[in-house]
Symmetry: C2
């Protein structure tokens, strides 16, 4: 080695020494800056294609208009599942499968509620999912209106027994108020109520009842439970407040039948380097038995399907497998989400991330990232968040760049509980709860531009997470 050669080698060693920390991060492929740089071109190609896309809308139109709502156990849900699998095959997805899932089968049947006195008036109602029905002759009873569980407790058994409890609960956000739908029947039944009615959990109403799942506590009598419109709940409150004895007739022919077989729908864009490592992207294919399930969750379903097609069309095959999963039975059981967890078995350790879109198809603003791992260092958690934020930044051109801590989705919660990082698409959330679980959740409420933006966001996030050289998180430390 000549002297000038020694000098060069020495200089290079010095340089390497100083650059080492950055270079090490760079080598894992996961420094936020390098992700932003490496994937900007791909992200822009995806965004450009997504913002011109018509396929997602065409799929949503078919799902909503031609199949319609699709509650677990209904023939429409099974048609939707067959259709989705067939579309995936047509789109060129690989390993398309419909692994069977046993699901609840609750059927609403005929139902009505009417004020008998001091006036006669039909109420705008929808039985709540999983509710028992009434006897054939219905239940007739005096109404007692409460504004919260405390008021109910204050009335005690003397004030409640044999009566129909009406929860006239002011909406304070879905997360906070929905507990009345979940546990209202059993809480009323414990005090001897014969049935219960719930002011719909929503901020806005045009005599619009909202259904949704309820839950019975073990060992408590199961009483019929139905949602009524905000208007009718307030009317009952005014009438009782005016000192009137208000009597109601409730008829519900709801039945829960033995479980039936449904299916999750799965299709893949197989990874070229690590095909057995998986990034899941999806929504739930079932809906309530009203409206079209357009926002809940038709949008999530067609965006996940179309994201895979977009990657194939653009020739963007990622390192890892992007797996589209359309879960069944989210609304009344979550059997699809649980069954998917069972179905993958030990493969869960190779699930690098799971992304769900189930907060409606309004204008996206970004993602929420949820990580439930006790074994992570703060540094690792911060790194993961910074990385997802950097991927989010790639969505600045469509104003969907905001990444916040906390998020996920009901269907991916069984994966998240076992440490898979979960992401949920977030939207402006202006009207979702006006429409959700009602006759008004229809495709006309979806802005095609917003759907395209969601497609751009979901595809970019899935692609980068599946393609980036390193992992989002270090492997779990097994206890």
């Amino acid at each position: 080695m000549k002297n000038y050669e020694k000098l060069i080698v020495g200089a290079l060693i010095c340089l390497l020494f100083f650059l080492w920390p950055a270079a090490a991060e760079e080598a894992s492929g996961n420094s936020p800056a390098s992700v932003a740089d490496s994937y900007r071109d791909a992200a822009n190609r995806i965004i450009e294609a997504a913002m011109m896309d018509r396929g997602a809308w065409e799929k949503l139109e078919y799902l909503c208009d031609r199949i319609g709502h699709r509650l677990s156990g209904s023939p429409q849900l099974e048609r939707a599942i067959e259709w989705a699998a067939s579309e995936m095959r047509k789109d060129g997805l690989q390993n398309v499968k419909t692994p069977p899932v046993q699901v609840e089968r609750w059927v609403r049947g005929d139902e009505s509620a009417e004020i008998l006195s001091p006036i006669r008036k039909k109420l705008h109602m929808l039985g709540l999912g999983r509710s028992v029905g009434t006897p054939a002759e219905g239940i007739r009873g005096e109404v007692v209106v409460v504004r919260n569980f405390d008021e109910l407790a204050g009335l005690g058994r003397d004030g409640v027994a044999g009566k129909i409890v009406v929860y006239n609960v002011v909406y304070e956000g879905y997360g906070k108020t929905v507990k009345y739908r979940s546990s209202g029947a059993s809480k009323a039944a414990k005090l001897g109520a014969s049935a219960a009615l719930l002011r719909s959990v929503t901020p806005v109403s045009l005599q619009t009842p909202h259904t949704g799942a309820t839950r019975y506590s073990e060992g408590v009598e199961r009483i019929p439970f139905a949602a009524i419109s905000i208007e009718d709940a307030k009317l009952l409150q005014r009438l009782t407040h005016a000192g009137k004895r208000v009597e109601i007739q409730l008829n519900m022919d709801a039945h829960t039948f033995p479980p039936t077989t449904s299916a999750n729908v799965i299709g893949e864009v197989v990874g070229w380097e690590k095909p057995d490592e998986v990034v899941v992207i999806g929504g739930h294919i079932d809906s309530w038995d009203v409206g079209q399930g357009a926002h809940d969750d038709g949008g999530g379903v067609v965006v996940a399907m179309q994201a895979a097609k977009l990657l194939l069309d653009l020739g963007l095959k990622p390192r890892r497998t992007v797996r589209v999963v359309l879960w069944t039975n989210e609304e009344n059981g979550l059997a699809g989400g649980r069954a998917y967890r069972e179905w993958i078995g030990d493969e869960i350790v190779r699930h690098k991330a799971a992304i769900e879109m189930d907060s409606g198809a309004e204008k996206p603003v970004g993602f929420g990232l949820g990580i439930r791992r006790d074994d992570l260092t703060q540094h690792d958690a911060d790194q993961a968040f910074a990385l997802v934020s950097a991927i989010g930044d790639l969505l600045s051109p469509v104003e969907a760049a905001e990444v916040v801590k906390g998020g996920g989705g009901a269907d991916i919660s069984p994966l998240m509980r076992e440490g898979v990082p979960g992401l949920g698409l977030r939207t402006v959330g202006k009207h979702y709860f006006d429409w959700h679980h009602t006759e008004a959740d229809t495709i006309d409420k979806v802005n095609p531009e917003d759907l395209r933006t969601a497609l751009a966001a979901m595809t970019v996030m899935a692609y980068v997470l599946a393609d980036m050289p390193g992992d989002l998180l270090p492997p779990a430390t097994l206890p």
Copy 2:
């Protein structure tokens, strides 16, 4: 007369000469400035009392919750009329009367509309008032969707005959779009349509059909005509646009029965100086047969009733008579408005103004003044407008001071046609057409504060117009 006396007299004459024009106006009592000054205290007393009032709300609650909707010919309307007259008597109004009015009697009956193919789906529908029914077996037919009358004309008889026309008309404001409701049936029938459906005339929908009156042209076959929700109209448009043959089953048991007897309700605060001169204040007591008719026009009814009570309670007896008139049958006939015109006969020349509140009970912003007098000089018209604007100014404390040109109300239009100046209460008009003629026009949509403001505005306007020394307009020049 001494010299200095002559000087004084001369000076006084000079002064009078210069002050004459202002003094003349002042003497008539009608200079805008003098009205504003003379009535500020009274207006403030009225506003203070109105903004504390509970009576209007209590009346509205009874009308909406205990009587409910009240279509012409229904027992509820007659109960409302009896109740209103009885309330007026209790409140101390004088000359309470219910002069009979012959009204249309249209009864909706059972009704339904369903898509039979390419999917099966019930439509959210409401038959339009005055529509004929279908034969007992209903009408089954292929759908043809048009976006406007031009598209309908473009299809011609070949494209329309035997089919069910669906008007999927984008809402461009009630005044502009409602013509499709008025004349859509006859225009479709002229081309041989078997029935017609109308996208509800509203900007907003949660699967909300809006009823309202339709009109058949003479000599054209009367075909059934119903409103459907915006969502369902768009669905039909999408299905036909996708090239599908869409078939619908329409059943309507609507009937028009022979006219029946209803009544206007009239009560007075008799004027102390000119009892035979009248300022009318009112709204219509009938409503459509859905919801509670809270905004349309329960608010107008109770505000007019309570305005009179407020004057009595405050001891503000005006010079002229303030006459409360609750017209019947505004919605489907306007028989009450016409009957009132007949009922007053020649007394119309002593009707100094008529004020109607029938644009909903949202937050008031002021009044519109409509004058239909060909014989007025521009100066007289300007004077009247300036005067009403000055009265409007008295409502600045409740932000209801804005007076615009043009206004009135359907029920007072027969008076206005014969020269009586008409005023209509104006509101922010944010949501009125979301609710109007639907199940959702209920009292919970009325803000008590807005109702009180309307009470303040209507009472001040009625009081000052009835009490000011001069007339709003010079007497009509008979042709």
